[in-house]
Amino acid sequence: MIVTLLSLGLGIVVAILVVYTIRHYLFTINRLIGRHRQPYLDIGIADWPETVVFVPAHNEEKVIGGMLDALLAAEYPADRLRIVPINDRSTDGTAALVDDYARRFPARITPFHRSEGPPGKAAALADASTRFGGEIHLVFDADYLPGPGLLKQLVAPFFDPEVGAVMGRVVPHNLNRSLLTRLLDLERAGGYQVDQQARMNLRLVPQYGGTVGGVRRSALESVGGWRADTLAEDTDMTFRLVLQGWEVVYQNRSECYEEVPETWPTRIRQVMRWAKGHNQSLARHGPALLRFPRPVRWRRGVDGFLLLGVFAVGPVLLAGWIFALALYFLGASLLEGPIAVLSVATFGTLGNFAAFFEVGTATRLDGSGRRVRLLPFLAFGFLVNLVAVTRATLSRTSWIQGNHVSWDKTERYRETSPS
C-alpha cells in the first residue's frame, strides 16, 4: 500500500517535470525555427507620448547617480520625459543625491520622497504613480544602466493601443566577478533570449519584470494600480493586465545592463523574494487563469499557470526525491525506472533538463562563444535555487495574502557612483 502511494506520488512528480521539460524544449525550438515578433521596435521619429520614468530607491547612493545620468542622456524628447527618482526613506545619501540632481536639472528630474506609508518597491510605485500624469510609466531599478536609445524602444510598442505593458531584456554587466555572476549570465540569457522571446512569438504570456519596462497609465488605472501588498508587483501586474485583456510585449533587442548578485547569500535572498512573490501571484491569479476567461483562452491560461507555478516546482522536485529515497529503501524495483528519469530531470532549472538546451541555444544566439562551456556548473546554481525556492515556498509569506512587505534589497557592489 505504502509502495503504491509513493510510486503514485513519484509518478505525479515526474509527470510535472516532464511537462516543464516539454515546455522549455518547445520554447527553444521556437527560437530556432519560429518567426520572431518585435513590434514597432525600429520607430525613430514619431509623436512620442508623455512618459514618466520612475526609479524606486532605498539606500541606493552607490548606484542611483549612474542611473540618473543615463536617463538624462536618453534620446527621448526632453519636454515629453519626466524622471522621478522615488526615495523611500533612505538612510544613506540617496535623498541628498537626488535633490542635487533635481537642483541641476529642475525641468527634467522631480524627486519624490516617501517617509510614511507601507515600505517597499510596490508601495512606493503605488504611491508615486497616482501623483504623476503622463501616458506611459516606465520603471527602472536604481542599479540599471539604460543606453541612449532604450526609452524610445520601450515606449514604441505602446503605439499599439492593445498593449498594456512592455518589458526589455536584462543583461548582467558584472559577469566577470565570480562563478556565480557567470552562471547568472547564462541563466539570464536563457530566460530572456529564449524563454521570454518564445512566449512573445507564440502569443503566450511574456512577463513584465518590474524593471526595464513599463505600463500604460490607462491600463494601470483599469486594473486598479500597483498593489502594495505583494513581493512581486511585476508578476502581479502582468497577470492582472492579461486577465483584463491587455497585451504584454517583450522586446528582446531592448537591452539594459544590471548588476547581478556576486555572493551566494545575496542570490538566495533574491531567489527567495522572487519565489514568495511568484507564489503569491499563483495563489491570487492561478485559479482565474485556469477558468480560461475570454481574453486569455486556454493556451495563455495554461502557459500563464505554468509560468506562475515555476517556483512551486522546487518543493515538488524535493518531494520526488523523498519518495524515491523511500521507495529505494522499501525495495521497490527502481533501478531503471522513475529514479533514472528523475535523475535526468533534476539537472535542469528546478528539475528541467531542457533548460540546458535553452541556455546553450541562448548563448549561441547571443554569439557568446566559450562562456557556454560553464554549462555543467549550472547544476550548482540549480542546487542553491532548489533549497532557496523550497524554503521560500514553505514559508507562510508565500501563500498568505496581505502580508507586510518591506524593502528586500539586493546588495550593490559598484564602488562609486558616476556624477
Binding site: Y328, G331, L335, S343, R364, L375, L383
Partner: protein
C-alpha cells in the same frame, strides 16, 4: 533579431544523423559488452575484489540486437559495527566541514549536506533492518551498467533533438558524438568498479549514496559538459543571422 536558420535540410540531416548514430550504437552493443567484460576481468583482481565476472542478456525489444551485459558477481558484506562507526564518523566530519566552508562555497556545502542526509538515512535503515538487502551488489552493478548502456544508446537521438539542429559542421557533430560516447563507454565500467570496490570496503552502507548521487547523474553531467563544449564551437561557414 538574431536567430539560427534551421531549415528543412538541417532538420532532415539531424534526423538522418540521429537514426544512423542510434543504429550504429545498437550494432556496437555486443562489442561494447565484450570490452566491458575484458576490463572487469583485468581490473577486478587489482582491486582485491573476488568473485567471477557474470553476464546477463540485455536485449533490444523487437530486434535481434543487444549485449551480454557483464558485471562483477561478488556480494558485498552486510555492515558490521566497525562500518557503522567509521562511516558515521566520516559523515559527521563532512557535515561539520560543510558548516565550516565560507559562503563562497555554499553550493558545495549544500551538496555535502545532501550527501550526509542520504548517508544518515542509510545508517538508520541498516541499523534497523535485517538481511537480505533488496539490492545485492551484483544486481546493483548490473542495473547501473544497463541504465548506462541505455543512456549511451540514446545519446544520438538526444543529440539529434538538441545539437544536430545547430549550425556546426557535420564533421564536428560526428566528432562530438564519437568523443562523448567513447568517453562514456570507458567511464561507465570504471565507475562501476570504483563503486564495487567502495561497497566492498565500506559495506552495503555506501551503496544508496553511490547509487542516488554518484550513479547515472555522473554520466548526465558528463553529457552536459560535452554538450556545452559542442555548443561553443563556431558556426559552419558564414554566421547565419537573420533580422
Amino acid at each position: 533579431m538574431a536567430g539560427l536558420r534551421v531549415g528543412r535540410g538541417r532538420l532532415l540531416g539531424a534526423l538522418v544523423l540521429a537514426l544512423a548514430g542510434t543504429a550504429a550504437m545498437l550494432a556496437a552493443l555486443r562489442p561494447i559488452g565484450m570490452l566491458w567484460k575484458g576490463m572487469f576481468e583485468v581490473l577486478l583482481p587489482f582491486l582485491g575484489v573476488g568473485g567471477p565476472v557474470e553476464t546477463r542478456p540485455l536485449v533490444v525489444p523487437g530486434l535481434p540486437l543487444g549485449m551480454d551485459l557483464p558485471f562483477p558477481g561478488s556480494e558485498a558484506p552486510w555492515p558490521a559495527l566497525g562500518h557503522f562507526v567509521t562511516i558515521g564518523t566520516i559523515a559527521l566530519v563532512v557535515l561539520l566541514l560543510s558548516f565550516a566552508l565560507s559562503s563562497r562555497f555554499l553550493p558545495l556545502a549544500y551538496f555535502l549536506r545532501a550527501l550526509v542526509l542520504i548517508q544518515g538515512v542509510s545508517l538508520a535503515w541498516f541499523a534497523l533492518a535485517t538481511p537480505p538487502f533488496p539490492y545485492p551488489t551484483p544486481r546493483y552493478a548490473a542495473g547501473l551498467l544497463a541504465a548506462g548502456a541505455i543512456l549511451i544508446t540514446s545519446l544520438p537521438a538526444i543529440l539529434g533533438f538538441t545539437f544536430y539542429i545547430i549550425d556546426v559542421s557535420l564533421v564536428r557533430k560526428v566528432l562530438l558524438t564519437v568523443l562523448l560516447i567513447g568517453h562514456l563507454i570507458v567511464l561507465l565500467p570504471l565507475q562501476v568498479l570504483v563503486h564495487v570496490w567502495l561497497i566492498h570496503q565500506g559495506s552495503l552502507l555506501l551503496q544508496p549514496v553511490l547509487f542516488l548521487v554518484f550513479g547515472l547523474l555522473v554520466e548526465i553531467l558528463v553529457f552536459v559538459a560535452f554538450y556545452g563544449w559542442g555548443m561553443s564551437w563556431p558556426a559552419q561557414g558564414i554566421p547565419e543571422l537573420r533580422r
